[in-house]
């Protein structure tokens, strides 16, 4: 607590404006919070239309948002050093939970993703989305940078085990996101280019065994469908055809809010969850899409700025990994809905309906804000 008082004192002594001081006290980064709020509020409009004007779903999502915003603010209050300290424990816990899912998990549609604690059901894989970058940043920041081969090998193992556990649930989308967050942290550690190239080579070589031994039939079908959606118009290709139709029919101006026929007449599956960008594109047109891209660009840009300004290697690697993960999820969603990437079940950040993803996303932004607002204090501490 004494540190906090010191921090407050430090800030006031610099005679910053009252507003900035308050934000600093609350650990709020306006460059992140404002675009996030715009995105969330705009997203509610799209969700209302996409859910067929369902008040029930709107209210549920508002509850999700309130919970997520609270989590955002709480997370932002942690000191980076504290976060670093608990990182290995969070990671260990998250890994244990994933193992527990493998044995005791519940699920639907042939996937076992949930853990039920009686009063609450949640997806440990979502916990891992946060735990992974924390743990990798912790591990790599303990060593000299760039990391040597041994600590790299350990780092890869830390990425591979949880990703593998999530992949076999099966949940390809989350597995990819989690792996990306770990790999991004490794990248931020300043990995040498020859390692990166050998990684890429290894990945290419492992495509064939992955196809044969790892990927489930429905996952293969999604990949095949991507290349030729017309081959299965009413089956796996349906989603892609309908979402492309929805996007394409929006034109420049869009058909108007709640006026998109693809979305309103149920042609578009999963319009309120993973495919919500198609609803936005149909009803608000390319103008709406452009605005959405701009908001995401502001968030990503701010994330990169926070990464660059991060004062410790732990903070830098963590911030970089979080931004990269956010970016990766965004790209996969935008790509799959528009038919560029296989359908892997990744939501559109901050817009798609769903509580868990919203909360884990907000934890990530909370961590980013913790890093961004910590800067003056750490300098003073030194």
């Amino acid at each position: 607590m004494s540190n906090d008082f010191a921090r407050v004192a430090e800030v006031s002594s610099r005679e910053l404006g009252a507003r900035v001081r308050l934000l600093q006290v609350l650990h709020i980064d306006l460059w992140l919070v404002v675009p996030l709020l715009v995105l969330i509020v705009g997203g509610l409009f799209v969700l209302y239309s996409a859910s067929g004007q369902s008040d029930v779903m709107l209210n549920a999502q508002i509850r999700n948002i309130l919970v997520a915003m609270t989590v955002l603010l709480i997370t932002a209050q942690f000191r980076v050093e504290t976060l670093r300290g608990v990182s290995p424990y969070i990671f260990a816990l998250a890994t244990l939970l994933l193992v527990a899912v493998a044995f005791f998990g519940v699920g639907a549609k042939g996937a076992q993703r949930w853990l039920s604690l009686g009063f609450i059901r949640f997806q440990p894989s979502e916990v891992m989305k946060v735990a992974m970058p924390l743990a990798l940043a912790w591990w790599l920041s303990k060593k000299a940078l760039p990391p040597d081969l041994r600590s790299l090998a350990m780092a890869f193992a830390m990425v591979a085990v949880p990703s593998g556990l999530i992949l076999q649930q099966p949940d390809l989308g989350t597995s990819l996101l989690v792996a990306t967050s770990g790999l991004a942290a490794i990248y931020m550690a300043g990995i040498q280019w020859r390692y990166i190239f050998s990684m890429i080579a290894l990945a290419l070589v492992s495509i064939w065994p992955a196809w044969v031994f790892v990927l489930k039939d429905y996952q293969k079908q999604r990949v095949l469908t991507l290349f030729n959606p017309e081959s299965d118009r009413l089956g796996a290709g349906w989603n892609i055809i309908q979402s492309k139709t929805a996007i394409g029919s929006g034109g420049w101006e869009g058909l108007g809010w709640t006026r998109g026929s693809q979305a309103q007449l149920d042609f578009l599956p999963e319009g309120h969850t993973d495919f919500i960008i198609a609803v936005l594109a149909e009803e608000f047109g390319f103008r709406g899409v452009l605005l959405l891209f701009l908001i995401y660009a502001v968030i990503l840009g701010r994330g990169l700025v926070i990464t660059w300004r991060a004062q410790s290697s732990f903070a830098r690697m963590l911030a970089g990994a979080l931004v990269a993960t956010f970016f990766f999820g965004l790209v996969v969603n935008l790509g799959m809905v528009s038919g560029l990437l296989p359908v892997v079940g990744v939501p559109l950040p901050m817009v798609s309906y769903g509580g868990t993803a919203m909360v884990s996303m907000m934890i990530a932004f909370g961590l980013l804000m913790a890093i961004s607002t910590e800067r003056p204090v750490t300098r003073a501490m030194r």
């Binding site: 394409g248 026929s261 007449l265 149920d266 594109a281 452009l290 935008l334």
Partner: protein, 590 residues
Amino acid sequence: MLAALMVLVMIGLLYRYFSLQVIQNEEFRAQSDRNRIAVRTVAPTRGVIVDRSGNLLAVNQPSFTLAITPERAEDLDNVLIKLSDLLGLTETDIELFKEARKRRRPLSPVPLKYRLTDEELAVIAVNKHVLSGVSVLSELTRHYPEGDLLGHALGYVGRIGIDDVDESEKAAYRGISHIGKVGLEAYYEDVLRGGLGVSRVETNARGVELDVIDRIEPVPGAELTLHLDIELQRVAAAAMGDMRGAVVALDPRTGGVLSAVSSPRYDPNKFVNGISFSDYAELRDSRDAPLLNRVIQGQYPPASTIKPMLGLAGLNRDLITIDTTIPDPGYYQLPGDPRRYRDWILRVRGTGHAEEMNLRDSIAQSCDVYFYELANRLGIDALAESLDDFGIGSVTGVDLPSEKRGILPSSEWKRRVIGSSWYGGETLIVGIGQGYMLATPMQLAVATTALATRGTAFKPTFVAAVDGTSVEPEPLLNVSAETAYWDEVFAGMVDTVSSVRGTAFGMRSGLTYSVAGKTGTAQVVGIAQDATYDEEALSEYQRNHGWFIAFAPVENPEIVLAVLTENSGGGSSAYPVARAMLDYWMSRDE
């Protein structure tokens, strides 16, 4: 590095959305409309059929239909069982339902039972809660107010079966449940059906209609006005009574069918929404063949009714003259052949008609020997040729489906069909309209028209006008002969009715108009050389058929008749039917 990668990827994705939304917009708009807009057909109203005075013969009545939407039924089999208990559904109903189901688009109701009665409607309403997916539709169904009076002529519509519509026509029947199966309903199917309307509706992904975007109204089927006179039809049917047979009345000036009765009759209403299997089996298997339209499908030896035509042929070919006489001892023998070809009069009177029989008397008294001799002089091929001029052995082309053509035997025909050569005795038998020769009542009515009009017959047609536009009469036969010849043949036919020895003298009393006629007695079983025809000894179905052909008034005829009575013994049972019809026709106010 990371930032540059992000910028590139985001620009790439943005371009993807730009490409889909702005560059390919039109293509996807069209695709979206194809998703959203469904084209539904709207069934037209079938054209009504009226008689010459506008009396309704085939109409469309609103009726209530029990239907099931299979997708909405929780347990279809169970619902069908419940409905069977409540309404007494037959297996045919359920079979037809299953067939209809195959042709329906998803989520549309499939008809199960038509023409619900008030009681049935009440039963359904009370049990509605246990009948999931069941609905009652109101629609127009075909109804024939005159019932069995016009069954054969009108035919009927029935639910469309799997084989009724071929691929090329399927589009025209989308949304239509019934099709003309037989009779005029089948022959004029394309005219009566009308054109489908189209309505474009907005549907959701499950095919549920949400809104009508626009609608092109269906074109109602054309109204058919028949030449037929319902009162004359009634008179004919009443006159036929329980007799099996056929009656056809033509207007010689147009070929219009004024009446056509095939007896026994059936009620076409039974067929409209699926006849029960037992009812159908009864009709189909009955020895009296009620489903057969005897007017165009019954083939009988024309017997003596062809004698006026042969007489004309003999005169035309100078084989006889008006004054030529032939002795009739009661039988005829070919030179060098011991076989005696008997005259029917022999059985009745024990002698022939007279020592000297001329053409006129031979027609009036139906002298067989005269025509044996004439047939012998003609020879089979000239005989066949001259009857061909009257249309015997050819379809008349009447506007009904499945007309039979009868048989006009010739030496060439026998070689081709039987595979043996013709011999002289057969010519004699054909000369009195027996043997291989078969004709339909419609054919004889047309041939009689050619007599009545002195050579010109139009194709017989039921339909006088389609939607008020008259159907032009179509010439069919053209027989030429000198006036004196016609006069002589007519004289014989008039004598048939009015001379004491005429074979239809019995119908003469009280006639207020002139009639020309000719009787015929068609043998059903061959009588052995010296055996006698003993009507009592023969079973009903072996007795002779009776014919009567007639036209009136003799000069400037207005009506031509052909009457056939099956197994009635002879022509004397046929001419009372003709008399009743002529009396009505000649006395009616026009």
